[in-house]
């Protein structure tokens, strides 16, 4: 059937080009028929058209289609004018529509057919399916058309009415097929879908050309196998299928990654330490990679790297460059200098600003005066001269005191040490300048002395001092001081007869004070003398020298002279000791018969002061001898208040006696001591402890001093022990009650439930009793649960320490589900103090280790086996590195621990 249809179509199409050619001949005359544009354009007059039709009627005869076309033509021709007139709007609309679309659509068959749908969709479809039948129908239609026209003419003729009146029925058809077939106006069957263009159609045109046969073969094969294309599935189903397919695909993709991801997840640490090299980092590195490429560069490099140049540079250039080099110190000093200058400038500026702002005229006047004075330099009147002299004097004194310009500074000393001659000129000049300055300062003083009116003695001394050496100064000073004190002592200051000071008590006080001062002065004199003596003793050679210089009197100071300040210390120390003693007594009183303090007391009484006059640093070592060599040179036995000591001692004795009984109560009888492992020493009885100290276990005769305690004492001791136990028990109960309070006894409120006998008889309501019982039981349970429930002699506080609570976790940390596992997992400390250095890193390594500056790239697919090793190798490499880097710190301690220990002593 299809074949047939095709053939028929072939036939038609075969005709078409011929027709076109023919038509093109007449295209000018028959514009209207040719296409829509023409139709709208100027038309031939009707009479002319009729003429033309008459001239070539044979045109209309031929094939079916031709006839059809002619029919159309005829129809147009006949009905043209009235149609246009009657359907103006329609015509314009449709015409415009066709004008643009048709030529385009013509090329594509399918679109054409779609277009046709608008006209007669249903028919079109039928045509598609029925093929041949559609053709027949069309033929019928054509025949009908012809009949209709005839009929119309007839009606016109009969009625005399215009043809429009009868035309309604045909209108639609007219529009759709109102033009002759051409490439722009496809025939109706084409539009209806019958005229599909098949591959055969296209092939025909290339028939006989090379490759045609092959193409044909292929097409035939395709046709043979060709099946009917199924209608697509609904969109939802299609999407679902697509999704599932995509899912399968992506699943396959992702499962590849699984081992990789799993490994990363399971790894305790992920290391990002590879590929850290991100190219050159410094300019130097980049420059080192430079290679000359262009000619110029090459030339340059050849010049630069020339051996001669290099050698020259090495020999000379570097030295030249050295000159440019500034040492760090120089730089720092210059910078400091600049900074200092700047800050000085700034301060000056600030000061000037401030001064400038001051509006006071007087101030400015004074300022001006000052400035003028300064500019004058040399003072005019005596007052000023004196002032200046004083200033100079001060400066001089300062100079003498500090010896600032006498090569005292570090700098100068260093230079002197190195030798002045080796220094350069500048330094030497500076040194000279300094010395000059010093000389200037002192000389100025000399010149000023005349003008200043200081007393002679001091001048004398000054001159002396300036002459004399340093060693001479000390005795002189001492002598002078002594002289002065003497003068003061001898001076009789008159006590005023009137005023407050004349009052008797004031007088007394003054006298007392004077006495004290005298005493002090005398002591001072003594001291001076003794020290003078010492000085004399030490360097006799000097004494002769100084003796000539100053006619100093030498006081016969004895060697046994006691040093004054020590005396004071002694007395104060004694007092403090007596305090200590008192306290010690107190200790005994309060301290429950501590026996050891007794001995202290006795020791305290023999007060002696240990004076380390010369070598305080070594005194302990000096004394590191046995008792027999006791009494080193530096020890002074002080026996002040000897009698008092004895008194004290005796009083202590008394106290000892009184305390004796009490302290003895804890002493156990000797019979108990017989089988004990550790035989205590006879310190137990205080009374006889002074005289006979026992020699511990090795002495066999120590028992002789031991006294059996009396029965009464033993009993008392036993009771004391009981008391302690009871007290403790009471204490424990108290604490228990405090921590687990006893429930209140059930009781009724007065007046409640007691108003009838019945209720009274019933007693307390059951719920009250129940509650009480519950509380009691609870308490007992709590008490039983206490840690010290089974320990009679222990009270363990159950009190919650709120501050310590924060050191415990309130809840189990997330991944853990059992307390035991968690607590066992934290049992090991992980700090460096508790682990060897090799393990610390691994224990504390964070989950992700990333080197600085590293870009973390997205995970890359690797073959599971190969890469599995890789991560691990990186990890183990890090481990290894850490092992070699850190030797354990145990090492350090090992090398010097052997010294000084007796080990595995085998004593025979």
């Amino acid at each position: 059937m299809i074949e047939k249809k095709r053939k028929s179509r072939d036939g038609k199409k075969h005709d078409r080009p011929q027709k076109f050619t023919r038509k093109s001949k007449f295209s000018k005359k028959r514009g209207k028929i040719e296409d829509d544009k023409r139709r709208t354009g100027p038309r031939l007059p009707q009479s002319l058209r009729i003429e033309l039709d008459r001239i070539n009627p044979n045109d209309q005869s031929g094939s079916e289609e031709d006839e059809e076309g002619i029919n159309d033509d005829v129809y147009e021709y006949e009905e043209g004018v009235p149609e246009e007139e009657s359907k103006k709007n329609r015509r314009f609309d449709s015409v415009e529509n066709y004008e643009y679309e048709l030529p385009k659509d013509f090329k594509d068959e399918n679109v054409d057919s779609d277009d046709d749908d608008d006209f007669d969709g249903g028919e079109n479809k039928i045509a598609h399916h029925k093929g041949k039948k559609g053709d027949l129908d069309q033929l019928d239609d054509d025949v009908e058309d012809e009949d209709d026209e005839r009929h119309l003419r007839m009606l016109q003729g009969i009625t005399g009415m215009p043809s429009q009146a009868f035309q309604d029925r045909k209108k639609t058809k007219v529009v759709s097929e109102g033009y002759p077939e051409s490439e722009y106006n496809p025939t109706r069957d084409v539009l209806d879908g019958d005229g599909h263009i098949a591959i055969e159609d296209l092939l025909e045109s290339i028939q006989g050309k090379p490759g045609y046969r092959e193409l044909r073969k292929i097409t035939r094969q395709v046709e043979k196998k060709g099946k009917v294309l199924q209608a697509p599935l609904p969109k939802e189903d299609r999407d679902r299928l697509e999704r599932s397919a995509a899912y399968e695909q992506s699943k396959k993709d992702i499962t590849r990654w699984e081992p990789l991801v799993k490994r990363n997840r399971e790894a305790p640490t992920i290391m990002f330490d590879k590929d850290t090299d991100s190219g050159f980092s410094t300019i130097g590195a980049i420059a080192s990679e430079f290679e000359p490429r262009t000619e110029f560069e090459k030339k340059m490099s050849s010049l630069v790297n020339d051996d001669n140049v290099m050698a020259a540079h090495k020999e000379d250039g570097s030295r030249l460059l050295e000159l440019n080099k500034i040492s760090l110190e120089d730089y720092i000093s210059s910078r400091n200098h600049i900074a200092k200058m700047r800050s000085l400038l700034f301060r000056h500026e600030v000061k000037m600003k401030r001064v400038k702002k001051i509006k006071s005229k007087t101030y400015h006047r004074l300022l001006k005066k000052d400035r003028l004075k300064g500019s004058v330099g040399i003072p005019m009147d005596a007052e000023e001269a004196k002032e200046l002299a004083m200033k100079q004097e001060f400066k001089r004194a300062e100079e003498r005191m500090t010896l600032r310009h006498k090569n005292q500074s570090k700098w100068a000393q260093r230079i002197v040490k190195r030798g002045i001659d080796t220094q350069d000129e500048g330094t030497r000049a500076a040194m000279a300048e300094q010395l000059h300055q010093h000389a200037l300062l002192t000389r100025k003083m000399n010149s000023m002395k005349d003008s200043s009116s200081s007393d002679d003695s001091s001048d004398e001394e000054d001159s002396e001092n300036s002459d004399g050496s340093d060693e001479d100064k000390a005795p002189k000073l001492l002598a002078k001081a002594r002289e002065k004190t003497r003068r003061v002592l001898e001076e009789d200051d008159g006590v005023p007869d009137s005023g407050v000071l004349s009052l008797p008590f004031m007088k007394r006080a003054l006298k007392k004070r004077k006495e004290a001062a005298d005493e002090e002065g005398r002591l001072a004199i003594q001291e001076f003398e003794s020290s003078l003596k010492e000085l004399e003793d030490t360097d006799e050679a000097k004494i002769t020298k100084t003796g000539t210089v100053s006619g100093r009197r030498v006081f016969g100071a004895s060697k046994t002279q006691v040093i004054e300040p020590k005396n004071k210390i002694r007395s104060s120390s004694y007092s403090s000791d007596s305090e200590a003693e008192l306290e010690a007594q107190e200790d005994i009183d309060i301290g429950l018969g501590r026996t050891d303090d007794m001995q202290n007391n006795i020791n305290v009484n023999s007060v002696s002061l240990y004076v380390d006059a010369d070598i305080p640093q070594d005194s302990v070592l000096k004394n590191s001898e046995l008792v027999k060599d006791l009494g080193p040179k530096m020890t002074y036995e002080v026996s002040i208040l000897q009698s008092n000591t004895w008194k004290k001692m005796s009083s202590n004795r008394n106290e000892v006696d009184t305390n004796g009984k009490r302290s003895q109560k804890v002493v156990e009888p000797a019979t108990h001591n017989q089988d004990i492992e550790f035989e205590g020493v006879g310190e137990d009885s205080d009374a006889d402890s002074e005289g006979q100290m026992l020699d511990g276990i090795l002495s066999s005769e120590h028992k002789s001093s031991y006294k059996l305690p009396s029965q009464a004492e033993l009993i008392r001791e036993a009771f004391a022990g009981d008391d302690v136990q009871e007290e403790f028990n009471k204490d424990k109960e108290e604490i228990m009650n405090l921590e687990n309070p006893e429930p209140e006894k059930p009781a009724q409120l007065p007046g409640w439930g007691q108003w009838t006998r019945v209720q009274k008889k019933k007693g307390l309501p059951s719920w009250v009793l129940e509650e009480h019982e519950n509380a009691k039981r609870k308490r007992e349970e709590a008490l039983r649960k206490r840690k010290d429930a089974h320990l009679k002699h222990v009270i363990i506080s159950e009190k919650l320490d709120k501050k310590a609570e924060k050191l415990l976790t309130g809840t189990l940390p997330y991944p853990f589900t059992s307390k035991e596992v968690f607590e066992q997992s934290i049992r090991m400390p992980i700090g460096p103090e508790f682990n060897p250095a090799t393990a610390v890193r691994a224990l504390n390594r964070p989950e992700v280790v990333k080197k600085q500056g590293l870009i973390i790239k997205p995970i890359r697919y690797e073959d599971s086996k190969g890469s599995g090793g890789k991560v691990m190798t990186a990890f183990s490499a890090a481990m290894r590195a850490s092992f070699y880097q850190n030797s354990t710190h145990f090492q350090i301690s090992s090398h010097c621990s052997n010294a000084g220990k007796p080990r595995n002593l085998n004593v025979k």
Partner: protein, 537 residues
């Protein structure tokens, strides 16, 4: 020797020496593992299991390395006296020992005689390099024990009851007549701690930088020496004492009282953690084993008791008296009384102390303090005539860890260590009986349900809060007092509601329970009249 045991395990085919070595190593590894790992099989969480597994592996390697390090880098073993035949170790005298040992050790046998300033008390730095000696009558001295040079001595001219080094030899605190003072090693007085009052004993907690003191009136004070803050001030209420010792393991300070009790304190609690009755008479001395598990006390009733501090039980009672006690690093116990020092040793490892050595100083000297010198086999004895030093073989730890205590410390190392220890300073609340509990899960709260009274109080407070809410000022007409009153009432109701609901739920629960019980024990109606009535009080 070459013969193999037939019934031995197949894997035990190592030569006996190596077997022994591996066994030794295993023991050490066990020590460093600090207990068993958790049983991972019970865990359901695979991820956690994996993590813990790797962790345990790391712990294992760490322990193994530590054991190996100990074996190879800490080879020195402590010495001890070994008696042969019928001779007894406690009969061996110091001069006998002195003849046998090397010169550097023999140097440590000496007596320093300082007769004037009364009984001396001693304290060593943790490295054992320096010693502070304090004579009762005001003589304070710091001595470098390595080269036997006196660093500084001062005379404070008043009673000195105790002296203690702070974190290093640079500072020491002395309990003087009225107040404790802190001096630096040059003898310069840095601080006078007036708040402490007349202190009888001082202790310094090195890890916490706390200076603990007990004064005449039985007041225990803790002062942070870094910032000077007073951390704790507690009235013990048990009278005056001069027996005080800090447990080196956990920092708990123990006081011995006249009533025979020992109380243990921490700076964050005003009541003693533990109070135990140790002796029927007053306690004269106390000491803690360095591992913190043993405590030795001596009472006036002439008994020395050794306690397990973890269980608070007596392990051993030794007859004898001690005025001062001290444990050495290796666990020897020195007891001094009168002019005699007794050393007890525990060489079987069974916590059974027996007589090891003895030493008597010159007759008439009264021992005030015995102190073992760390990292040396030396015992320092402070007595009424100065101090003495004797050799006790096996008392000191032979290997020292320079990170912990370095007797050869340079200035720089000392400074660095100071900084480190300051950074690692523990807060005072970490002092507790069992510091290994830190970080663990809080024990469940005792009471899970609030009592009725508390509920009522809560309700009341909630209602009060609701009543107190400020009302918004609405526009005219909507701000009527009646409306406000209604609103307020509503708010109060709303606040009450959760409590009431809770109450209702509870009541219902109780009722249900009751019903259940009632059903169970319900007698037939006919017999109910014979049911026993509840006894009335």
């Amino acid at each position: 020797m070459g013969a193999k045991q037939e019934n031995g395990d197949p894997e035990d085919i190592l030569p006996p020496l190596e077997q022994e070595l591996s066994h030794e190593l295993d023991m050490k590894v066990k020590k460093y593992l600090r207990g068993e790992g958790a049983d991972l099989e019970v865990l359901k969480d695979k991820k956690l299991k994996g993590q813990l597994y790797t962790r345990e592996n790391l712990y294992g390697t760490s322990a193994k390395t530590a054991a190996k390090t100990e074996k190879w880098l800490l080879p020195s073993a402590g010495g001890y006296l070994e008696a042969e035949g019928i001779e007894k170790t406690w009969r061996i005298k110091q001069d006998t020992i002195g003849r046998e040992v090397d010169i550097s050790s023999a140097k440590n046998q000496y007596d320093i005689v300082l007769p004037d300033f009364g009984p001396y008390t001693l304290d060593f730095t943790s490295s054992g390099r320096y010693m502070a000696a304090a004579g009762r009558k005001g003589h304070l001295a710091v001595v470098d024990m390595k080269n036997m040079s006196l660093i500084k001595e001062i005379q404070v001219r008043e009673t000195v009851r105790d002296v203690v080094f702070l974190h290093n030899e640079m500072f020491f605190a002395a309990a003087q007549k009225k107040y404790p003072y802190i001096y630096n090693r040059d003898g310069v007085e840095l601080h006078c701690l007036k708040e402490h009052g007349a202190v009888t004993r001082l202790q310094f907690l090195k890890n916490h930088f706390l200076l603990a003191s007990i004064n005449k009136y039985g007041q225990l004070r803790y002062q942070d020496v870094t910032m000077g803050e007073m951390i704790g001030n507690f009235r013990t209420g048990l009278g005056r004492t001069d027996v005080m010792q800090a447990n080196p393991f956990n920092g708990v300070v123990a006081l011995g009282h006249s009533g025979g009790t020992v109380s243990m304190w921490k700076p964050t609690s005003a009541v003693p953690l533990v109070k135990m009755l140790c002796h029927p008479g007053p306690i004269t001395a106390m000491a803690f084993h360095p591992d913190g598990h043993l405590m030795a006390t001596s009472g006036k009733e002439r008994k020395i008791k050794i306690w397990d501090v973890r269980k608070f039980e007596v392990l051993q009672t030794i007859r004898g008296h001690a005025k001062t006690l001290d444990f050495s690093q290796k666990g020897l116990l020195a007891a001094g009384t009168g002019s005699f020092v007794q050393i007890f040793g525990d060489f079987s490892g069974s916590r059974n102390y027996s007589r090891y050595m003895g030493h008597s100083i010159v007759k008439g000297y009264q021992i005030r303090k015995v102190a073992f010198r760390p990292y040396e086999d030396v015992l320092g004895i402070g007595h009424s005539m100065g101090w003495s030093s004797i050799l006790i073989p096996g008392s000191g730890e032979p290997n020292f860890d320079t990170w912990l205590a370095n007797p050869f410390e340079t200035t720089k190392q000392r400074r660095e260590k100071e900084i480190h220890s300051l950074l690692d300073k523990l807060p005072p609340e970490t002092i507790m009986l069992d510091p290994s509990k830190i970080g663990t899960v809080k024990s469940a709260k005792k009471k899970e349900k609030p009592t009725k009274k508390e509920m009522e109080a809560d309700l009341e407070t909630a209602v009060e809060a609701a009543k107190g809410t400020a009302m918004k000022k609405k526009t005219k007409g909507r701000n009527k007092p009646s409306k406000i009153a209604v609103k307020k009432k509503e708010i109060v109701e709303r606040a009450k509601k959760p409590f009431l609901d809770q109450q209702m739920a509870e009541e219902e629960k109780v009722a249900k329970k009751k019903r259940k019980i009632g059903e169970e024990i319900a007698l037939p109606t006919a017999l109910q009249r014979f049911a026993r009535k509840k006894a009335t009080a």
